[in-house]
Symmetry: C2
Subunit: 514 residues, 2 copies
Amino acid sequence: MNGAESLVRTLINNGIDVCFTNHGTSEMHFVAALDRVPGMRCVLGLFEGVVTGAADGYARMAEKPAATLLHLGPGLGNGLANLHNARRANTPIVNIVGEHATYHRAFDAPLTADIEGIARPVSAWLRTSPDARAVAGDGAAAIAAARAAPGHIATLILPADTAWNDADGPAEAPAPAAATKVSAAAVAAAAKALRSGQPALLLLSGTALRREALTAASRVAGKIGARIMSQTSNARVERGAGRVAAPRVPYPVEHALAVFKDVRTLILVGAKEPVAFFAYPGKPSRFAREDCEILTLATPAEDTRHALEWLADELGANGAAPSPEPRVRLAPPAGKLTVEAIGAAIGALLPENAIICDESVTSGRGFHEQTKGAAPHDYLQLTGGSIGLGLPLATGAAVACPDRKVLSLEGDCSGMYTLQALWTQARERLDVVTVIFANRSYAILRHELTQVGAKNPGRTALDMLSLDNPALDWVAMARGMGVAGGRATTADEFVKLLSHGFSARGPFLIEAAI
Amino acid sequence: MNGAESLVRTLINNGIDVCFTNHGTSEMHFVAALDRVPGMRCVLGLFEGVVTGAADGYARMAEKPAATLLHLGPGLGNGLANLHNARRANTPIVNIVGEHATYHRAFDAPLTADIEGIARPVSAWLRTSPDARAVAGDGAAAIAAARAAPGHIATLILPADTAWNDADGPAEAPAPAAATKVSAAAVAAAAKALRSGQPALLLLSGTALRREALTAASRVAGKIGARIMSQTSNARVERGAGRVAAPRVPYPVEHALAVFKDVRTLILVGAKEPVAFFAYPGKPSRFAREDCEILTLATPAEDTRHALEWLADELGANGAAPSPEPRVRLAPPAGKLTVEAIGAAIGALLPENAIICDESVTSGRGFHEQTKGAAPHDYLQLTGGSIGLGLPLATGAAVACPDRKVLSLEGDCSGMYTLQALWTQARERLDVVTVIFANRSYAILRHELTQVGAKNPGRTALDMLSLDNPALDWVAMARGMGVAGGRATTADEFVKLLSHGFSARGPFLIEAAI
């Protein structure tokens, strides 16, 4: 057994059975080992950002890491933006990067690069295997590091000779530990602050946005008269009819400041202190008041559901009725195709138990209100702010959950960064409906240009924010990658295409001309 | 004047008047400054790999750097692979990366990342501007660092508040220095080694592959009976009829070893010691014999033409006639569409003074023999081995040379990494003919799977090297980005489409089904 095979066996023995890959020569022994070891599903991406973004979407839904396989430093570079996003989502990934043979590195061949240097900014764990017999143990250590709560990116660099030389066999990773329970002191402090009667807000993220944790938060909030909100961006939210809604902190600074204007007690549950996404001249970075008491009930690495249930118990709220959203049955919209019509159509037609991956950025802000009473669903967002995650995220989620419909909401601009994901969706016959919000501009940047105080943008600046010359034809691009689709210019057309996409199996794309 | 404007003025005053950009909120003041300062051509890319690859192609042809504008750490990450390639080509680039406002970084907002950490592996010069008044001086230092021979990547990180706060004005960079002349000792040593009568080879790269340097090399070689070759990959070669040909060191290890089997004197002129691109089990990394004397006549940073002319003088070869290639007029091919037919068609139809950007990898190896007597042209290659440079490289070369036809030779697999370049070609109406070698597989990797000794690849491995499920339709994808094109299935169709592409102006794509 060579090093590559020892790694493949280590992955499979420890429950990692999906590998998203964009490989090259230095990873050929790993690819060859896949033939000798049954049990690994390999999913090819034609660009590394697809690979890493899909690994993110997969792990968010599968609740266990996938492996990636990338080609040396530049291949890792191409995957870096979506590793950044995954890091911000606390997603576990076993990120395997091929490298030149140990003895070949000194010759500075063209592809030689400082792989560890490139990996370090996104990796919680990082190791280059020194020889073939170390590979299985290093793989097991990477798995353990990736799975450690709340989830991490573990990068294992595999020189080619460590893959092809003889190894001993697979290694075992420790079983994933349960999330740490919070301390009684943390619960007592939160309870005390909430009992003070000051205006309070529970800010949730991470695992606190799953059904049971939301229910406990709802009991606490109902008892105390506090509000529940979620971070602006979250890895995964269980929402829709029957679940407790946690409205997002708005993105625009003014709106966010208004949310926190009166809040004197802020309890963080798997969330971070709320700050502005970007700095703007003359506007604050922090949203909470100076005199707001900020307490952490549970960090993202801790058991948020247990913490919230304990807090409810402490406050005598365990018997209280939570406030889940009632089912709202909307009529499908007609007439002009607007962002609101798209939201209404999704609210009306969304199948039960769907997964929504949302990178529509500017186009989808009304969407949350329109879908909170829709069929229950999981809602996955861009957490790291680097656009180009959406299509890969949907791809990975569909690999993880073959029996659930995935709805991928994407901007025409952000979709362009990783459009190659559509090919993987076609190749794997993934059940993904993609909606492209085709406004043909960097709409958010037009807004941002004003926000940063850049006055009277002229022709050059506006030209740099426009995508209409030439117009992108997403239906043609999708067809070029084997994905069927259609363009909707009215709400009626959109409803018809969305109904078709939801009822058929396999990937389908709708370009929504808004 | 704010910091952003002081930087734009510094760039323009120092002759940098093209900026390839994919910007976000943190770069909005830079974008706004472009309206206030005339003279900068901004070229938008829909993905950062397009931006950095185009900056590479631009500088190789313009012989001066372009600026780039990238959005924080993840945007830089997306551009990293083509910065790696540019670094290997010794291409000068003023690589500007936006960053959060200095005071905002501590809040760890979603897009916060270790930008310096990501930039370091590809940057010869790296600085984060501390405040607005430093930006112009930092910009001038970046320009100087980028222009220092043989050309470097200088990364300037620009926190948003250094762009919007008040600055003093532009700064001046020192004029680019002429390349250093080699020492008399280096020339004397090379002359002595060549006079020894041992089998000798001049290995050229960098500026040694321009017309005059090749002519001098030809005189030396003719006088001594030495061979001239070029590296396997080179940033830019002046070749075709009337120029001296320098055949490439072959990529396959066995073929390369055969080239150097009898060489006892190896003179490096702007080249590095030849080594294998990858390591393979049981095969050597170095190509030269153990007993081969290896001398550096000129490093890439030195004046290679002067060195070769001096060497010719020292050897009494200055009067010798060089051996340029005669013009060969091929008949356009007919019948089956093969790689050879494509090479023959290009040899027959190539317009005068064209620029060929070649990332066809496996498909184009016969091409060199077929085009050495074609109309004179510049030939640009992938130097860093990270596929996904070709389409952006052609884009940048076309921006640099609007009066020259650019021919972009691309693999269907490698083209997918940065296909967004086609949109920029359409938007800028660039005169680029793209030929996609559509073999619908990672052809080179099938070869590499055997080379690394992975025996009897099975279904999984072969499936991972195949692109035919679904087949990519490049004509549809190009149309989706505003580029017209057609698919050729016979040599006759290919000749017809290529003739059309060469005679029309603007971007055109041919999918060659081979």
